[in-house]
Symmetry: C2
Subunit: 102 residues, 2 copies
């Protein structure tokens, strides 16, 4: 077994809540905080904390705006977030493949 792909897994993305969050965002242009929270079944605080970690890593951008005069917070992947996610999924693929080939 080659341990390289394991060592390279990005810890920021690997945490399973953040992995789900990144995957949701990767599937679309942007999602509201409310949609993310409801789809992931996370508390506001939990989602907020994961979003902050991803923001600090430069992977997620947060935009605050108004819709029908109500505040709306949306999240989207940055270019580097999308690149990091593609790399991460490629490593998972290698891990699965090297397990299956035995």
């Amino acid at each position: 077994m080659n341990p390289e792909p394991f060592l390279q897994l990005d810890r920021v993305i690997h945490e399973k809540g953040r992995l789900a969050l990144m995957s949701l965002l990767a599937a679309t242009d942007e999602l509201s905080f409310t949609d993310l929270r409801d789809t992931l079944g996370m508390s506001d605080g939990n989602l907020m904390s994961h979003v902050r970690t991803l923001q600090e890593a430069g992977y997620v951008a947060v935009t605050k705006s108004f819709r029908e005069s109500r505040p709306l917070t949306t999240c989207s992947l940055t270019k580097s977030g999308r690149a990091a996610f593609v790399t991460y999924i490629g490593l998972l693929e290698q891990i699965v493949a090297q397990t299956k080939q035995r």
Copy 2:
């Protein structure tokens, strides 16, 4: 996106050091503590701590014996460890597939 496979990921296996460890053990019957440590590039303390977590989850069995009158510690997956690993890899496969299908 279906968040189910993310939520089901076993946290005991998901930590990347333990994932590498479980993958190594899944590829063979047993490995010595020394071989695991050297292949994974972990410190004794780090490996010991991961092995203990996996032991407590019932996923890894530790055997102490002697070879050429020197103590030898070997680790192997238990039946339930192997089953949990197969389930985990199946979930990773779903995650990769659902990312790739877009």
